[in-house]
């Protein structure tokens, strides 16, 4: 199957501190990968490198056939194909939910306003908050905000979706509504890389699990094998603590 994301020997430092160490990772189209690991292990940094919100210093990252480097001209073009959902939602507070969603289709894809709003409404329907379209982010609950953020990313019709701990800032009863949307998305065939500690979600949708610690990929395995028969002691310890 065609590789849509390829990382080879990626190294990254924050000043002198090395956050990513020799990361190798392939993702095929339509694959779902869940990354877990203790905090500070480099999970977030890794997926932020994939749309170049963070720059890597060594190694190669190829996304959908384009290598990311300082010379990458149209980084915006890659970012338009890679949707991202953040822990803190990061909706634009000065725009309505509808405008949050139609903004990028209008300004990046240069679609007519009417068409962009149709796309926005369809995606809001998909995450079941189309009745909140005219409200402002501050008027929504955390779960609704995160679903709006997912809809906003989907409006660009991305080939890949990156989720950076999407449920970590939510109240427990709101986690499910967000995870349901993500499960739905996974079933629809989206390529997804998800950083999360929601192991129930991981078991349900992930093709592969990745466990990271101290900037390294410690273990990469098929989901079933990962949970039933983890190889490294570090993974076993981690799983015993969170399961």
């Amino acid at each position: 199957m065609a590789k849509i994301i390829e990382l080879k020997k990626v190294n990254k430092w924050f000043d002198k501190f090395q956050v990513l160490k020799d990361i190798d990772l392939d993702v095929s189209s339509q694959e779902k990968i869940v990354i877990c690991g203790p905090s500070g292990s480099g999970k977030s940094t890794l997926i932020r490198c994939i749309n170049r919100l963070e720059e890597h210093q060594e190694g190669n990252i190829v996304v959908d056939g384009t290598e990311l480097s300082e010379n990458t001209k149209n980084i915006e073009k890659i970012r338009a194909e890679v949707g991202m959902v953040f822990q803190q939602f990061n909706l634009f507070p000065h725009l309505s939910v509808l405008d949050n969603c139609s903004l990028a289709p209008i300004w990046v894809k240069k679609l007519p306003k009417k068409q962009a709003e149709e796309i926005a409404m369809n995606n809001l329907k998909r995450v079941q908050i189309d009745d909140q379209a005219l409200k402002f982010p501050g008027q929504l609950s955390g779960g609704q905000q995160q679903r709006a953020a997912i809809a906003r990313a989907l409006c660009m019709e991305p080939k890949i979706m990156l989720f950076d701990e999407p449920t970590s800032a939510l109240d427990p009863e709101m986690i499910k509504e967000v995870l349901d949307v993500m499960v739905d998305l996974a079933k629809g065939g989206m390529t997804m890389i998800v950083v999360t500690h929601e192991m129930g979600f991981a078991k349900e949708v992930a093709d592969y699990m990745i466990f990271m610690d101290e900037g390294k990929i410690v273990e990469r395995a098929k989901t079933k094998e990962f949970f039933e028969n983890p190889k490294s002691d570090r993974t076993k310890l981690f799983l015993s603590q969170i399961l």
């Binding site: 194909e81 990061n90 634009f92 000065h94 725009l95 300004w107 990046v108 240069k110 007519p112 990313a153």
Partner: protein
């Protein structure tokens, strides 16, 4: 007695006491004035002022009326406040952004400037520019040309002046082009909504503003000539410049002091506004594929302006009111000309002080109304 009646009673008592206090002061003033043989009235405004004003924007001589003197002072105040606000804004925005720079030198230079000028009394700064900085400038005959036949001397700054023929044609076209820009903005927005095409609005606006008015020059409907200041010998040792535009040192000192002082506060407003926008907002916008210009235009600026405008309005008001420090260096502003000289000569203290007070009040209210309108426009989408 229920609560509502109690409130009304309290309110009426308050109003009654304020009115009686006012009547007390008014009758008191009336009695004192009639004891001294003074009469309340604005008749003096039509009398001859018979004093000179060094720097006037409109025609004025000793034989002009007090009303004319009032207008001269008012226009001088507006002039320095207007240019002060423009310079302070430009400098403030630049310094505010510079304080966020990652470049060590730029960042620290900006911080040093803000901390230094913000923490010295404005009057002291005014004295510095007037008595220290501008006093060491050369005499007219020793002054070198510093650009385009401009001369900075101890007497004044002399600039080449534009002398217009049929200026109104140029002005009309200028106003038309501003209207045209508004119309263009409106229609390009409509077109974008319809089929998604984006236009470089800023470039189009600049082009309209440059091309349309200059058509009047190209086709000769209006024209101008440049009048250069020429050195003129008055006597064996005294020289001066004739022609061109003469800007007195009092104006320069006041403008410098007001802009440099107020810019520090505006810089802090700008910095606070930009810092208020979290990193996450920019990252979210970038991750959708918006380029840095669009991130600034659509995400950062609309949010930052809301934080920046209200405190900046206060700074504009402060600058306008602080311009009355002009009296200290004899720049003939409203306070000096009218509440100073005219008051001294006529003795019409109550009339003149209240006129000047109302004028400053009006200027301040006008500024606030204008800025509130702009602020509303920025916040129009927030519910």
């Amino acid at each position: 007695m229920n609560n509502k009646n109690k409130k009304y009673l309290l309110q009426s008592a308050l109003i009654l006491s304020i009115v009686s206090l006012f009547i007390f002061f008014a009758t008191n003033a009336q009695i004192n004035m009639s004891n001294r043989g003074l009469q309340f009235g604005f008749g003096f405004l039509n009398r001859e002022a018979s004093f000179d004003i060094q720097f006037t924007l409109i025609e004025y001589s000793r034989s002009s009326t007090y009303l004319r003197a009032y207008l001269v002072g008012l226009l001088n105040t507006i002039l320095v406040a207007f240019f002060g606000i423009i310079f302070a804004t430009i400098l403030g925005v630049i310094v505010g952004i510079a304080r966020l720079s990652k470049n060590y030198l730029i960042n620290n230079l900006a911080s040093a400037y803000v901390e230094f000028f913000r923490n010295l009394p404005l009057l002291l700064q005014l004295f510095f520019w007037y008595y220290a900085a501008l006093r060491v400038l050369p005499l007219p005959q020793d002054a070198g040309e510093f650009f385009f036949s401009s001369y900075l001397t101890i007497k004044a700054l002399y600039l080449p002046a534009l002398r217009w023929e049929n200026f109104y044609v140029f002005l009309t076209l200028f106003i038309i082009s501003i209207f045209l820009i508004i119309v263009t903005k409106f229609y390009t927005k409509k077109i974008q909504e319809k089929d998604g095409t984006q236009f470089p609005i800023f470039l189009i606006s600049v082009a309209i503003l440059l091309i349309l008015p200059s058509l009047s020059l190209i086709f000769g409907f209006s024209s101008f000539s440049i009048e250069k200041p020429e050195l003129l010998k008055l006597s064996e040792t005294t020289y001066t410049f004739e022609g061109g535009l003469e800007i007195p040192p009092e104006f320069i000192a006041l403008l410098f002091a007001l802009s440099l002082y107020t810019a520090t506060f505006i810089a802090e407003c700008v910095r606070a506004g930009i810092e208020a926008i979290g990193k996450g907002q920019k990252e979210a916008a970038a991750s959708l594929g918006l380029n840095p210009n669009l991130v600034l235009k659509l995400i950062v600026m609309p949010q930052a302006l809301r934080v920046i405008i209200p405190p900046t309005t206060n700074q504009y008001l402060n600058l306008t009111k602080n311009s009355s420090l002009a009296s200290a260096i004899a720049y003939p502003d409203l306070a000096l000309v009218f509440a100073g000289t005219a008051l001294m000569q006529t003795g019409k203290a109550i009339e003149i002080v209240s006129m000047v007070m109302f004028t400053y009040l009006l200027l301040s209210i006008l500024t606030s109304v204008l800025m509130n309108w702009y602020n509303k426009k920025q916040q129009i989408t927030e519910k």
